[in-house]
């Protein structure tokens, strides 16, 4: 029997053992109802579940469709992004490579391949870095030890620090390689060709230490080299510092222009370079000044030898655009450790030595002497006094008359510059003229002389001329002609009463220009004399170059008259020559009667010298002239006759 039925019977049975049928029926009916209800419930549950399952499935399908669309859109976007990425990679100016944590190639752009001479099929993604380096070694675009390189790269990456390396290739190119570690252990590196930039940097570094014009070391490098050399001096070596200055360089610049001046400096630099050893340093420190540091010398004679070589090298004539130029060099020498062990001290002492050299003339070298300081101060004082003198009117013109032998009267007076220094008294022109030239005073001074001479001469009788000396500087200065014209105009002196005396030195420099100026002057009516004839190298050839009016025979020939036959012969020859060329001749430095007679005999037309009259101030001259004119009128024989 069914368990439930048995239970129901038990439940429906009362204490007497009788089954309550009503109760029993109720229980059974209730059981059937329970079953029905259960069945309906189950059925309902299943239907609902099926519905829900369908709904869920529908949702799922819809979601899948949406997601697929999303994915596809994302795919398209990714493609586009990849293309953009590729374009960027391919077109960037740097080579780019990316490696993963195992040093395998992940990304490589075309530029990288091209830069390193690699073909696209030689390298593929996944290759090890080592393989890449080997390929580059084969192509000559990697130098150094690949293992070291990889090692240091790994160190840098594990430290998480970016690094920049410069790779110098055999073909001269320089690459900058910047490597940046990435999270995860890989790294990305960009390669850039920085050859030009590098070269520019090198060039700039060079230019910072070298003179642009001559490519010699400049002041900066001089200081460095000197510093290094002095360190050796501390250990017992000796060195010399030579300070070299080009004489008359300013003239060249003024007369031929700066391009010629620059060319001159370049050639000078080359010549000087050729005189020094590898270990020595030659620098240009500006203008026409050069320093030479001569290291590890034995003693002063080594420096002296070098100085002499340098001077001679400079003395060789230069050919500048067809112009023949000759200049000298002055050199000041200071020795270490004798004259100092400090750079500044040595340079200063070399400077003083140079100053001394210049004072002593041209083309001279001088060693530093402890009293140079004093002499320099003296010279500086002189320069200052000279400038002041000009402003204070301490200059005066003296005149030395020249006697015409035929007429027995003064025909011309030479103007000579005198300086009355308030404290020193009379300063000899020998002393102050070179200084005036050095400090650029000669031109204004010269102009003053011309003006003053013309003004003074205007006071004299009409038939007496005035002769003024012209230095080469004056002759080539642009202001000469205007100055002369101005002087003539303001003094109202006739041009033919003005004589200009020039020495051979004038003609040595830039003869063409000089000749042209001389012609211009002559065309005004001014007379031109060659002074100190016979003392230069080419006196005769200069006679040919220009129609001089007068030759002044140098005193050295006059001195020897009567003592040596050579002097006689020379003087006679010169006078004969002059006569043929329609030039007058003046014998300079006639001091005795005998000389006077001799020169007259030999054919000179005029004499100048202490015998007749020394150079005298203007007021004295006026007296002399008056006396002479008076005597003449009275018919008295004078010393001249």
């Amino acid at each position: 029997m069914h368990k439930l039925l048995a239970q129901q019977i038990v439940k429906a049975t009362d204490e007497t053992g009788l089954v309550d049928l009503e109760k029993f029926s109720a229980l059974v009916a209730a059981a059937y109802e329970d079953l029905d209800r259960d069945r309906r419930r189950t059925d309902r549950s299943i239907s609902l579940m099926i519905e829900e399952a369908d709904a869920v499935q529908g949702n799922l399908e819809r979601t899948v469709v949406e997601r697929t669309k999303e994915l596809q859109a994302r795919e398209v976007e990714l493609q586009a992004q990849n293309m953009r990425f590729d374009a960027a990679l391919s077109n960037m100016s740097q080579g780019l490579v990316m490696f993963d944590a195992d040093a395998r190639l992940v990304i490589c752009n075309q530029r990288y391949l091209t830069m390193h001479g690699l073909e696209a099929d030689e390298i593929k993604l996944g290759d090890m870095l080592r393989r890449l380096l080997d390929c580059r070694i084969a192509k000559g675009t990697f130098s150094g030890n690949p293992e070291h390189y990889i090692g240091s790269l790994r160190t840098m990456i594990s430290a998480g620090m970016p690094s920049t390396e410069f790779v110098e290739l055999d073909d001269g190119r320089t690459f900058a390689v910047v490597s940046q570690p990435m999270p995860g252990g890989g790294w990305v590196a960009t390669h850039e060709d920085v050859t030009e930039r590098r070269q520019a940097e090198i060039k700039i570094a060079h230019m910072a230490r070298h003179d642009a014009l001559t490519d010699l070391p400049n002041r900066v490098l001089l200081r460095e080299r000197l510093g290094e050399a002095l360190a050796h001096v501390e250990r017992g070596q000796r060195l010399a510092v030579l300070y070299l200055d080009l004489d008359q360089f300013k003239n060249v610049n003024d007369t031929l222009g700066h391009p010629a001046g620059d060319e001159l400096l370049r050639v000078v630099a080359g010549r000087l370079r050729g005189c020094v050893r590898e270990a020595d340093t030659i620098c240009r420190v500006g203008g026409d000044e050069f320093f030479v540091v001569q290291t590890d010398i034995g003693d002063a004679t080594d420096a002296e030898r070098l100085a002499r070589r340098l001077v001679e090298a400079v003395r060789v004539p230069f050919d500048l655009e067809g112009h023949r130029v000759m200049i000298d060099a002055s050199i000041g020498i200071a020795l270490a450790p004798t004259d100092g062990t400090d750079a500044n001290e040595l340079l200063k002492n070399a400077d003083m030595a140079l100053y001394g050299a210049k004072a002593d003339g041209r083309g001279v070298y001088r060693f530093f002497e402890p009293n140079m300081d004093a002499r320099m101060k003296e010279r500086r004082a002189l320069e200052l006094a000279l400038r002041m003198a000009f402003e204070n009117g301490e200059f005066e013109l003296y005149y030395q008359p020249m006697l015409n032998l035929e007429k027995g009267e003064v025909r011309c007076c030479e103007a000579l510059l005198r300086w009355h220094h308030p404290e020193r008294g009379m300063v000899s022109p020998v002393e102050f003229i070179p200084v005036a030239e050095e400090i650029g005073l000669i031109v204004p001074l010269g102009e003053w002389v011309i003006r003053q001479a013309c003004a003074d001469a205007a006071q004299w009788p009409d038939d007496i001329c005035v002769a003024v000396n012209l230095s080469p500087t004056q002759l080539l200065s642009k202001g000469l002609l205007p100055a002369v014209l101005g002087a003539l105009a303001s003094s109202r002196l006739q041009a033919d009463r003005l004589e200009l005396e020039i020495t051979e030195a004038v003609l040595m420099q830039n003869s063409e220009l000089t000749i042209r100026v001389l012609h211009q002057l002559r065309s005004l009516g001014i007379r031109i004399s060659m002074d100190d004839f016979g003392t230069g190298y080419s006196s005769l050839s200069y006679l040919r170059s220009f129609p001089f009016d007068k030759i002044k025979i140098d005193r050295c020939f006059i001195k020897g008259l009567g003592e040596s036959s050579e002097s006689d012969a020379i003087v006679q020859a010169v006078t004969g020559l002059a006569d043929c060329l329609s030039m007058t001749t003046t014998a300079e430095g006639v001091e005795t009667r005998q000389q006077l007679d001799l020169v007259r005999k030999l054919g000179c037309t005029d004499v100048q010298g202490f015998f007749y009259s020394p150079p005298v101030p203007l007021r004295e001259l006026t007296k002399v002239l008056a006396k002479e004119r008076g005597a003449k009128r009275r018919g008295i024989k004078t010393a001249a006759a």
Partner: protein
């Protein structure tokens, strides 16, 4: 230990009590609310066992060995040889403080030699999950905590609990077993089948469920119950418990059953927490599998708990009103299935509750269960 079983019904009153009447130290009783309301039944028990702690509650049905009935009171009087017991009681003034009440009970019963705790609580005015959590926090997870929520048939009006007093509403009672002789076995199993799609708890607050997958919970239930059975809500909702679990901890799955509904807000109150964000799935019951579940629970309770010789043991079966409702007249089958697994010497009593308290069969953590058969066995060893 020795166990004496006594029964009360309207017709015969209290049935035989045997000799050692007064020796019992603990009396447990379960009965219908109608019978317990007046308090006379308690007084009678008190009279019979003056020295014992008397603890019991109203139910949704009583279990007396293999019998299930609705109009009786079943009781067990226990005398222990070497086990001490202690009873405590809490009054519920504010259901939101359920955890505090639990902690208080835990503290009251705590002791170094505490071996087990059995709790009976008001079934309508408490948050069972919180109560259990409160007690567990104090006594720890190593002490077995079992018990149940009192019931009121299928009325869901008022539940009564008594602890050394006449049973009354809004009360929690807890008994502690002390000593090294007592062995407390426990087991719990459901047997309900999951069916239908997994749903998400999209709106809930504590044990009040508002929405599943954005749809009002009550709508879903009315659909599944159909127009006829919907009239029987909330009771009929017991036919479809839900299983809830946290996706991150699938082993935490618990079954929840409906306590009340609100036709206005379309919300449903469950006997335990239904946390928002958890996954929920409907369940349905099948007689055979429910019975098998009961047997499983009994098997779990047995292991390790064997009576010695003449000693008797007690098995307390706390099953769920929802199972009763589903199985109807055939409820007895689950009791029989459980009994078949238990020792023949063990006296079986129990009740159909509004919530079962037992350690989770898988996780071992003590929790409030619904729709579950729980079995607690008490035995002493020498």
């Amino acid at each position: 230990m020795r166990v004496q079983q006594i029964v009360w019904n309207k017709r015969s009153g209290w049935t035989a009590a045997k000799k050692e009447l007064g020796e019992a130290s603990l009396v447990l009783y379960f009965g219908t609310r109608e019978a317990l309301n007046c308090g006379a039944r308690y007084e009678a028990l008190r009279g019979m066992f003056p020295a014992a702690h008397v603890m019991g509650c109203s139910t949704g049905g009583q279990i007396n060995n293999n019998d299930v009935n609705d109009d009786e009171i079943v009781a067990a009087a226990i005398s222990f040889d070497a086990t001490r017991v202690k009873l405590c009681r809490e009054d519920i003034s504010d259901p939101s403080r359920s955890r505090d009440y639990g902690e208080t009970i835990g503290r009251a019963l705590s002791s170094d030699d505490l071996a087990g705790v059995f709790v009976l609580s008001d079934g309508l005015n408490v948050n069972g999950s919180e109560l259990v959590a409160g007690i567990s926090k104090i006594i720890g997870q190593n002490i077995p905590l079992t018990g149940g929520l009192a019931g009121d048939g299928a009325n869901f009006k008022e539940t009564l609990v008594g602890a050394d007093c006449a049973p009354r509403a809004r009360t929690i009672a807890g008994i502690g077993f002390y000593g090294s002789a007592i062995r407390v076995g426990h087991g719990s199993a459901g047997g309900w089948d999951l069916f239908g799609p997994r749903r998400q708890v999209t709106k809930s607050a504590g044990n009040v469920l508002f929405e599943l997958d954005g749809e009002p919970a009550l709508d879903l239930y009315e659909r599944y119950l159909g127009p006829e059975e919907s009239k029987g809500l909330p009771g009929s909702a017991l036919l479809f418990p839900i299983q809830v679990y946290d996706l991150a901890a699938p082993d935490s799955a618990v079954v929840r059953t409906v306590l009340a509904i609100d036709r206005e807000t379309r919300a449903m109150t469950f006997a335990g927490d239904v946390p928002q964000g958890w996954t929920a799935q409907l369940m349905r019951g099948n007689l055979d599998r429910l019975a098998a579940g009961a047997a499983d629970a009994a098997r779990q309770a047995c292991s390790g708990v064997i009576g010695q010789g003449n000693d008797q043991s007690l098995s307390i079966l706390v099953s769920c009103i929802g199972r009763r409702l589903l199985m109807g007249q055939r409820t007895i089958e689950e009791v029989e299935a459980a009994g078949a697994e238990l020792s023949p010497d063990t006296y079986r009593l129990g009740f159909y509750s509004y919530g079962e308290i037992s350690p989770h069969a898988k996780s071992g953590l003590c929790e409030l269960h619904n729709q579950t058969m729980t079995v607690t066995t008490l035995a002493e060893v020498a």
